[in-house]
């Protein structure tokens, strides 16, 4: 499914199967999650996308061709291909273990073709072996919603009371990890979204309410997965002195002006960008121990536009996954 120009529908297109170059692998895609970032790509909200582009960066597939020079992977192996598609390896960020901030990166489904397709090519060093446990569709959302959620959770710190603003694909995974870690989860949904709040409570949240509500106790930290900048002052109001608010999205509407008193007393506001391979390895090792259960809605690959429209409208719980 190809995005031929920004702000248009994806188009089902027959293309020659891509061939892996040196250091690359090709997979037959078995499942690809749909992420809010795909909507930002389609809507032209991110700078300098490759167009036309095949979106999709939560790819589960089986390797069918291995390019020259690839070590440690074999044909038939199941792998996950995430958002971080390539880094330069020599810029100051790569050299300091912050490859998520690389000066010359490539991102799957944004600056290189992704997984809304029957086959995809990836830089072998950035693919994660997934083993044979777990269903392809259930694993797909771990590759971005799970990973970025995990990085956000680590950056949010050790606080016990954790707020999650926007209870979609990422939050429904993070809630399970946080609960497993012994934290209390406070879930904030769109005001009046009682089914979303019930979903959060069913996953073990201690409290669920609208984003305009205040929990009865101050939170230690909050992660904002929703794309609405209006949530930032609300989250700052909800955290305690010294508390931390983490913006996890790649794009957010403007943050409205707010009184300094909301930030004062050493509250911190910070963002999370992309992921490192180390994040991926540690999270994918942790996921089976946590026993994460992803809630997914399957769509045939050809219905990618429907999946994106349903994501935009909030018509499903958890994550959408395309299946070729």
């Amino acid at each position: 499914m190809v995005l031929k120009e920004l702000k248009s529908a994806l188009v089902w297109t027959e293309l020659a199967d891509p061939q892996p170059g040196p250091g690359e692998i090709r997979v037959k895609v078995t499942a690809c999650g749909v992420c809010r970032t795909d909507l930002h790509v389609v809507d032209g909200e991110l700078p300098d996308p490759k167009v036309p582009i095949i979106p999709g960066h939560e790819i589960v597939g089986r390797i069918d061709i291995i390019g020259s020079g690839v070590k440690g992977l074999r044909v038939g192996e199941r792998v996950g291909i995430p958002w971080l598609g390539h880094t330069c390896g020599v810029c100051p960020y790569c050299l300091s273990g912050e490859e998520n901030l690389c000066d010359r990166p490539a991102f799957t489904g944004y600056t290189r073709d992704g997984g809304f397709a029957t086959a995809a090519v990836a830089d072998a060093r950035f693919a994660f072996p997934l083993g044979e446990d777990g269903d392809d569709v259930a694993l797909a959302p771990l590759l971005c919603a799970g990973l970025i959620g995990w990085r956000s959770l680590v950056i949010a710190g050790q606080g016990k009371r954790l707020g999650l603003y926007g209870f979609g694909a990422a939050a429904h995974i993070v809630a399970q990890v946080a609960k497993w870690q012994g934290r209390s989860v406070y879930a904030f949904t769109r005001p009046g979204d009682s089914s979303g709040q019930r979903f959060a409570l069913s996953l073990g949240a201690s409290w669920a309410g609208g984003s305009n509500e205040m929990p009865h106790v101050p939170l230690d930290a909050a992660i904002i997965f929703a794309t609405d900048g209006d949530l930032v002052p609300l989250a700052l109001k909800a955290v305690r002195k010294g508390g931390r608010v983490v913006c996890a999205g790649i794009h957010m509407s403007d943050i409205p002006s707010f009184p300094y008193s909301l930030l004062w007393e050493e509250r911190q506001l910070l963002s999370v960008a992309n992921l490192t391979r180390k994040d991926g390895i540690s999270f994918l090792q942790l996921a089976p121990r946590v026993g994460i259960v992803t809630k997914t809605t399957r769509y045939p690959l050809k219905q990618a536009n429907q999946a994106l429209a349903d994501l935009r409208a909030g018509r499903f719980e958890g994550a959408a996954v395309l299946v070729p």
Partner: protein, 345 residues
């Protein structure tokens, strides 16, 4: 074009280096060829040619891991450097790039790391084959001869100081004011630390004072631990042991302040006793530190380019290499020796 080069080669462990003509290496994909201008001589070269360590290099090989020169040929797909760039080919010749250590900027402990002048041919030759992703980039204002000791001795001491976690305004004790120690004093001063220098020779301590050490302690007169504790008001926040002497390690731990860190970078053979009660009750950290990452390398060279760190060097031609190595073994080298390939030395 020239096809042969001069090289100093280890033919058998324990023997002298043999000066030979070797074919100039040809670059493969992802490799570069460096024309050597200078190459520093390090004590590790002595260990390599003696086969002192458990994992021995394959014979014959060319030692040297402080080579500096210009890139003269690029293999296919090389983008990280271009022809004419001045680079150093350091001990950390390459690493795998994808293990848990490489992914967190700890490529120095990668299990698949290759070492220059040890598992790969090194800089005691007119040309060096190198991995463009792991070479040191020499800043424009820094002379090649000045840079040579920094890509091993310099980065090792700089990283060691960082690993003490001592903060500007705090005390660092530097034990051993030789090739490593005299650089360590300058790095520590540039990093805003107060320096106490420890050695057993007054001439080296006088040099330490010239380089900016606020306090010097001669460890052969009286108790150096007490002297450091007294001079620093309770011990140094960070201690860097560069001396290849076991008593220096025990003393280093002893002079560490409560909650401080003692970093070891020298590797004398053997073990040293650890006073467990003092280490536990004073919450002391003892930490090993090994060379430095590429990020550390760039920082270490930048200090020198800014004029804050300058190695004492003695220039020698390649033909003198065996004399130099003999003097190193006998402890008869006051500074760092750099082999000059220009024919001027």
């Amino acid at each position: 074009m020239k096809t042969k080069m001069q090289a100093a080669v280890v033919r058998q462990f324990g023997g002298p280096l043999v000066l030979e003509e070797w074919p100039i290496p040809v670059v493969g994909p992802g490799q570069i060829l460096v024309k050597t201008e200078v190459c520093g001589v390090c004590h590790t070269d002595v260990h390599a040619m003696n086969g002192d360590w458990p994992l021995k290099p394959a014979l014959p090989f060319i030692p040297g891991h402080e080579g500096i020169g210009s890139v003269v040929a690029l293999g296919q797909d090389v983008t990280a450097v271009k022809e004419g760039d001045r680079v150093g080919v350091p001990w950390l010749y390459s690493a795998c790039g994808h293990c848990e250590y490489c992914l967190t900027a700890w490529e120095t402990v990668c299990a698949e790391a290759q070492f220059c002048g040890y598992t790969k041919n090194g800089g005691f030759a007119e040309y060096i084959l190198a991995d463009p992703n792991y070479v040191a980039h020499i800043p424009a204002g820094l002379k090649s001869a000045a840079a040579a000791p920094l890509i091993c001795a310099g980065v090792t001491t700089y990283k060691g100081i960082k690993e003490t976690r001592a903060q500007p305004g705090e005390w660092i004790a530097i034990s051993g004011i030789g090739g490593l120690g005299h650089l360590a004093i300058q790095y520590a001063k540039a990093m805003g630390l107060h320096v106490v220098a420890i050695d057993i020779e007054d001439s080296k301590l006088a040099h330490a004072t010239r380089l900016g050490a606020e306090l010097t302690v001669n460890a052969s007169h009286g108790d150096p631990i007490e002297a450091v504790k007294k001079g620093t008001g309770g011990g140094a926040h960070g201690v860097l042991v560069t001396a290849p002497s076991l008593p220096a390690f025990r003393q280093g731990v002893g002079m560490t302040r409560k909650r401080g860190t003692c970093v070891l970078v020298g590797i004398p053979a053997g073990e040293f006793p650890t006073p467990l009660f003092d280490v536990v009750a004073n919450c002391i950290t003892i930490r090993g530190s090994f060379v430095g990452t590429r990020g550390d390398m760039a920082e270490a060279l930048a200090f020198a380019a800014d004029g804050k760190v300058k190695a004492d060097i003695e220039m020698q031609p390649l033909s003198a290499i065996n004399d130099v190595l003999t003097r190193l073994k006998e402890g008869d080298v006051a500074s760092r020796v750099v082999i000059d390939f220009s024919g001027k030395a």
